[in-house]
């Protein structure tokens, strides 16, 4: 590629990031420290820490993040170790299924969890049927505050991220490293703790970081559980009286600082690069065929975890076809009325259309930007390309809520980016918001594609008279198509399920995306939750069709879709 073009791409992407990543964050920070009169103040931040409600929210958020992360590791680590150790029956398919919960909308699943673990829920009904619980005094599993339900739903949604990272780290360990320990007398669990775990720690940390940041600032799930004593929900409710109130901004800043702080501590403790991947693996890993006992253990663990993770969504599906479901294991009466009602409801069809529109446009932006950035980073020697790479990864580390707030602030009336709201239509700002948040996935998968495709293939085309850009489109892009589809699909799914931006930026009913429509239905009276479930099932069906469709295109390697 000629240098001029590379520099142009570099300039455009840096400008894009400056406008839609740095600027909104800066804008939020500014609002938290500047009084309406224009002087700088720390009073807002100080005020926060004097207010017990905000302090409790922060503590709860921290617990929500920490417990979710620990639970995810607890689920994912044994599974990854098993899959790395044994060759068991049905491994390929189980290995793919275990990842599916990542693309099931968690705040829809939260509806299901309420139905299952609530006081009049399925689990209690089951215990009462067995005679293990008094029907007159059912226990409330979700308890006061419902933190347990939130953490459970988050963990069941996010553990695939930990599983992917740990599996990748394990695959990078030269088996000879473990054999050398075995050879010197170190065996079993001792070997796991002395050799294997320390070597995969950076991978574990990478997964844990993403999960922590995600769940620390999770908005959708606590909102559905009506758990308002976490910072994210407090911020969301704070928007209602936004114009005069600086506290939501101050909270956002505290959250951002806390995220960076926890990240640095974690990095210092666990994430130091030990250069484990620099080893030259000489022997391929030969997996042991599982003994009947091991087979049983592996298969049942994988099935159990996948089953548990899908259970909330099964609950939602049942809820959507039930007329009445209270205090019994299965609904008492079945109906398809909710689907018909949902189709007739002004919110639903509109929101499905909106979401498809926003998500496809955002995915398009992602793929174009992602290929451009990955190409500059991998294939050129442009100075500062590592900076571009690091920049493109940053959205993973910044809570969605923080960005959403920034976008809101910078597009308010009278602000320079007011024009991005076309009349009242938030389509431009939503597409940008979705695209920025998911760009890292597309950049990573495109970069992996470029790295795996030898540059000599392109050079051969040029050597035979093909101009550079044409060589790129005729040779390299077709070769990395699978990577691009995988990255794009992940970006699309996450955009369809996006909560923070959708809830905060879409203010008019006719522009609601699916997530906001579901939230509006859940909080409305009457058959709202049933309609919300029906809409949730529609959304899941759409996603399932998309993923399966792509799976067919890509061949049977469904798992490759999730490799980020």
């Amino acid at each position: 590629m000629n240098k001029g073009l590379a520099t142009t791409i570099y300039g455009i992407t840096i400008a894009f990031f400056a406008l839609f990543f740095v600027y909104p964050i800066w804008h939020t920070v500014k609002e938290a420290f500047v009084t309406p009169e224009g002087s700088i103040t720390f009073a807002y931040i100080a005020e926060l820490f004097k207010n017990p409600i905000y302090v409790e929210g922060l503590i709860n958020s921290f617990y929500m993040g920490l417990l979710t992360t620990l639970l995810c590791l607890l689920i994912a680590l044994p599974l990854a170790l098993m899959a790395n150790h044994w060759d068991f029956k049905g491994k390929e398919i189980l290995n793919s299924l275990i990842l599916v919960p990542l693309i099931l909308p968690p705040f829809v699943g939260a509806l299901g969890i309420r139905q299952i673990l609530g006081q009049a829920g399925v689990f209690n009904a089951f215990l009462i049927d067995l005679g293990l619980m008094d029907a007159n005094a059912p226990y409330d599993w979700l308890g006061e505050g419902q933190l347990l339900g939130v953490v459970l739903m988050n963990a069941l949604h996010l553990y695939p991220i930990a599983y992917l990272n740990i599996s990748a780290a394990l695959a990078n360990v030269d088996p000879a490293m473990e054999e050398a320990a075995e050879n010197l007398g170190c065996h079993g669990l001792r070997r796991l703790f002395r050799i294997t775990l320390p070597m995969i720690m950076p991978g574990v940390f990478a997964g844990a970081t993403i999960i922590f940041i995600w769940s620390f600032t999770e908005l959708g799930v606590p909102l559905i559980f009506d758990f308002s004593r976490v910072t994210s929900v407090q911020i969301f409710h704070g928007i209602k009286d936004l114009s005069g109130n600086p506290f939501p901004y101050a909270l956002v800043v505290v959250m951002l600082v806390a995220t960076v702080f926890f990240y640095l501590i974690g990095k210092w403790l666990f994430g130091r690069d030990i250069g484990a991947s620099s080893g030259r693996a000489a022997t391929g890993r030969v997996l042991k065929p599982a003994s009947p006992m091991a087979n049983l253990l592996c298969v049942s663990s994988f099935v159990l975890v996948t089953g548990l993770a899908i259970l909330p969504h099964i609950g939602v599906t049942l809820l959507s076809v039930s007329e009445q479901w209270y205090g019994t294991i299965l609904p008492q009466h079945w109906t398809n009325q909710h689907y018909l009602d949902a189709l007739g409801h002004p919110l639903t069809l509109n929101s499905i259309g909106n979401s498809l529109k926003y998500a496809s446009l955002a995915t398009g932006v992602n793929v174009i930007l992602g290929v451009a950035i990955a190409y500059v980073v991998v294939r050129t020697k442009l100075p500062g390309r590592q900076f571009l790479d690091a920049m493109a990864m940053l959205p993973l580390a910044v809570p969605g809520l923080v960005l959403a707030f920034g976008y809101l602030a910078m597009t308010r009336e009278g602000q320079p980016f007011d024009f991005l709201i076309l009349g009242e239509n938030p389509i431009l700002i939503l597409v940008i918001a979705y695209a920025v948040r998911r760009l890292p996935y597309v950049v990573r998968s495109a970069a992996a594609g470029f790295q795996q495709t030898s540059v000599t293939l392109e050079e051969a085309a040029q050597n035979l008279g093909c101009p550079p850009l044409k060589a790129l489109t005729k040779v390299t892009l077709p070769l990395i198509a699978a990577n691009l589809i995988a990255g794009g699909l992940l970006a699309f799914s996450f955009a369809m399920l996006e909560v923070s931006d959708s809830l905060i930026l879409a203010e008019q009913q006719q522009y609601f995306p699916i997530t906001k429509a579901i939230y509006a239905l859940v909080t409305s009276l009457g058959n709202g939750p049933h309609l919300a479930s029906a809409l949730g099932v529609w959304a899941m069906a759409f996603l399932a069709i998309t993923i399966v469709g792509a799976g067919v295109i890509l061949g049977k390697k469904l798992g490759a879709l999730f490799r980020v």
Binding site: A176, E179, A180, E182, C186, G275, A282
Partner: protein, 359 residues
């Protein structure tokens, strides 16, 4: 140190037979080499002795005790891996100390022995280095120290020098032999580099397709290969097929496509009978060149290529009736023949012409 006997060892991977009924005896304190083309089973055999593969059939005896079902961490062997397998999260000292810690050696003794081991491989004072701060040669020494420090019953080396440059390779192989002999170690060394094996082995085994092709000292295997494969794998050779004509004293006359050759069987217990098919092996350095036909073992051919290397000159002759060119090398050449196309004669003494079973 331990002596090792291998009896009828069979190892299969699926339908592929990696080791086929192997028998080997390795004496205590012996530096024993496993050689062979890639895929011959040499690494599989080494890993079976270390316990990383469980054999389907047969026994592995350490001093007479069957260890074939003993897990690797209880065999007290120490392996030096081809990739070194140094743990990146531990520094040099910790890597070397690892095996001693597993053996619950006291702290003070660990320190002493690790420092001693590092000094032995000339890495003293570098204990605090991280693994990724070391050069390839230094990593190789640390890996050797890590294996030696536990005073293993058997030291195993899996192509330990393959990642080093040629000069360092020669230096280190001498060093490995010195250390093995100094401690009287039983050592098994896998390589595909025949020079490494010939230069430092006490004995070596050539493997071929999961079978032992030959076991012997370097001189035995080089001078008296038992099969055409061994002859071709250890050193260079010219192989010609033929049929026995008659015997006269020790000499056996063989009819071949390139003329009558006089030689001796590689196995003294084997006397090929007239009309029996044989393969004849003549090493290039055993052939000398002449412009007039010699009385015996005369091979006439047209010179197709001559290469002058200073201490030696290589010639290739194209011989009528034989597809492959005949290679010969002349040590300390005074005059190099460069006229390609010229007809020349190559000849060898009967004791250098080796008769092998037909290939």
């Amino acid at each position: 140190m331990v002596s090792i006997q291998i009896r009828g060892l069979v190892k299969r991977f699926g339908s592929v037979v990696a080791l086929n009924q192997l028998d080997i005896d390795i004496a205590s304190g012996e530096l024993f080499f496993l050689l062979g083309p890639s895929g011959c089973g040499k690494t599989t055999l080494l890993r079976s002795i270390a316990g990383f593969h469980l054999p389907e059939e047969g026994e592995i005896l350490f001093d007479g005790d069957d260890v074939s079902q003993v897990p690797p961490h209880k065999r007290e062997t120490a392996m030096m891996f081809q990739s070194y397998a140094l743990w990146p999260h531990l520094n040099v000292f910790k890597n070397v100390a690892f095996g001693l810690e597993e053996r619950r050696v006291k702290k003070a003794e660990i320190k002493e022995r690790v420092e001693e081991a590092l000094a032995m491989v000339k890495m003293d004072g570098l204990g605090n280095r991280k693994i990724n701060q070391l050069s390839g040669g230094q990593q190789q020494r640390v890996a050797l120290a890590r294996a030696l420090v536990v005073r293993p019953r058997c030291l195993m080396l899996d192509e330990p020098l393959s990642n080093l440059d040629a000069k360092l390779r020669i230096e280190m192989r001498t060093e490995i032999r010195r250390i093995c002999k100094e401690f009287g170690l039983t050592a098994i060394y896998v390589t595909h580099d025949q020079k490494e094996a010939l230069s430092i082995a006490d004995r070596l085994a050539v493997l071929d397709g999961g079978n032992i092709a030959q076991v012997g000292t370097p001189e035995e295997v080089y001078r008296h290969p038992r099969t055409a494969l061994v002859a071709g794998f250890i050193g260079e050779t010219n192989l010609v097929d033929g049929q026995v004509a008659f015997q006269s004293g020790d000499d056996i006359y063989v009819k071949t496509a390139i003329g009558e050759l006089v030689g001796r069987p590689s196995d003294p217990d084997w006397t090929p009978q007239p009309d029996e098919q044989v393969t004849v092996s003549v090493r290039p350095e055993c052939l000398s060149i002449d412009i007039s036909p010699p009385a015996q073992n005369a091979i006439a051919g047209r010179l197709t290529e001559s290469t002058y290397l200073g201490e030696v000159a290589h010639y290739s002759l194209s011989v009528e009736g034989h597809e492959d060119p005949i290679h010969l090398s002349e040590l300390n050449p005074r005059r190099v023949i460069r006229d390609t196309g010229e007809t020349l004669y190559a000849t060898a003494k009967p004791e250098d012409v080796v008769l092998l079973p037909p290939r």
